[in-house]
């Protein structure tokens, strides 16, 4: 296993990078202008956070790689984002549901990270937390608005939830990298954050008149990099082609 701190920082950065890129796919085609700009803002926040996480990862690694090198010169198996963030946008409801589930995890995790023993990690978490608090506020309202909306919007939100529900578990799954981070006081135990996530989820789903699916099955393999879904390769092809075709190209 590579340095657990490097691995942990890549996971943080890969989550925000892949989701940021996904959300940016809505730019110019969202159902209304206001949502289009809001989604673009969210995407930009996430890409900004990516820069912080991956630059720190490169620094920790000490091989001269910066955020750009890590973002554009790694292949699928080196990406360690959770599977949830690489799932397709689907319709607007599916995008919002994915974002809500991620935001709810992200806010809890970042809140814990603000108390990290690693000062740079704590500082990045604190800066990100302000943005993510707003993301969660916005997606919470939208999930409730669409869930408790028209028959059509309710149906779409329920099917988005049913589809994405099995991807929640991976965010709270603990492995050797987490163990190492916990023992050094750098990051929290992900399993300890599940109860708060669940109660928020229940509260929001109740207001949204959505039904929480049964079952505890969780897809895994993104965080460890062992088994990504087919979608990640498509994202990277689009995201990386320029730097791959013209290495070190700048504006």
């Amino acid at each position: 296993m590579s340095d657990p701190l490097f691995e942990f920082l890549c996971r943080m950065g890969d989550n925000t990078l892949v989701l940021g890129h996904r959300v940016s796919e809505w730019c110019g085609v969202a159902p209304v202008l206001e949502e289009d700009i809001a989604l673009a803002n969210t995407a930009l926040d996430l890409i900004g956070q990516t820069t912080l996480w991956l630059n720190l990862a490169g620094e920790v690694e000490g091989k001269g790689r910066d955020a750009d090198a890590l973002a554009f010169r790694r292949d699928v198996w080196d990406f360690h984002n959770v599977l949830l963030v690489e799932q397709p946008n689907g319709d607007f409801g599916q995008t919002i549901m994915r974002q809500f589930l991620f935001d709810a995890w992200h806010r809890g995790y970042l809140t814990a990270l603000t108390g990290s023993s690693h000062t740079q990690v704590a500082a990045i978490a604190e800066k990100s937390l302000k943005e993510v608090t707003y993301h969660l506020e916005r997606t919470t309202d939208t999930v409730i608005g669409l869930g408790d909306g028209t028959e059509e919007s309710h149906k779409r939100m329920q099917s988005a939830l049913d589809r994405l529900y099995p991807y929640i578990g991976e965010m709270f799954f603990k492995d050797a990298v987490d163990e190492a981070m916990i023992s050094e006081g750098i990051a929290p135990d992900p399993t300890s954050l599940r109860a708060a996530f669940d109660s928020l989820l229940d509260e929001v789903l109740a207001k949204a008149t959505l039904t929480r699916p049964d079952g505890t099955f969780a897809h895994k393999g993104g965080k460890s990099g062992q088994r990504h879904s087919e979608h990640l390769g498509h994202i990277l092809a689009q995201m990386q082609w320029l730097q791959r075709a013209y290495p070190d190209a700048t504006w």
């Binding site: 085609v29 202008l33 206001e34 809001a38 397709p88 689907g90 506020e137 087919e230």
Partner: protein, 114 residues
């Protein structure tokens, strides 16, 4: 859209150019008090389902470059406006009443902006 599953919106949901869509949200006027501004200024309008989402949309549409400290939104239909045709009777009478402008006083520099 790179992913095989990326969806796009059905073209039948689009409205003819210049016509609002059948499901259009109400229009809101947005007022923002800037970093150094003393009062809220009208910055534009947007669509939103309710007041709360209008404020959130205003935050996203109009404060991206750190413009604002405070946002007001008001539903456009709630604004009572004067009619442009009444321009003459409403405003012309004040044209020749120059004594209403306090331009005949010397303001000491110490007073600053008024």
């Amino acid at each position: 859209m790179s992913s095989p599953e990326s969806g796009s919106y059905d073209a039948t949901e689009a409205a003819p150019h210049g016509k609002p869509r059948a499901t259009e949200w109400p229009l809101w006027e947005v007022f923002i008090r800037g970093q150094h501004g003393l009062s809220h200024r009208h910055v534009g309008s947007l669509h939103a389902a309710d007041a709360e989402s209008a404020i959130k949309n205003a935050r996203d549409v109009y404060t991206r470059r750190n413009e604002g400290l405070s946002i007001w939104v008001v539903e456009a239909s709630a604004i009572a406006a004067s009619s442009p045709e009444e321009k003459g009777p409403l405003y012309e009478p004040s044209n020749d009443k120059v004594y209403r402008h306090p331009t005949f006083f010397d303001i000491p520099d110490e007073v600053g902006a008024m």
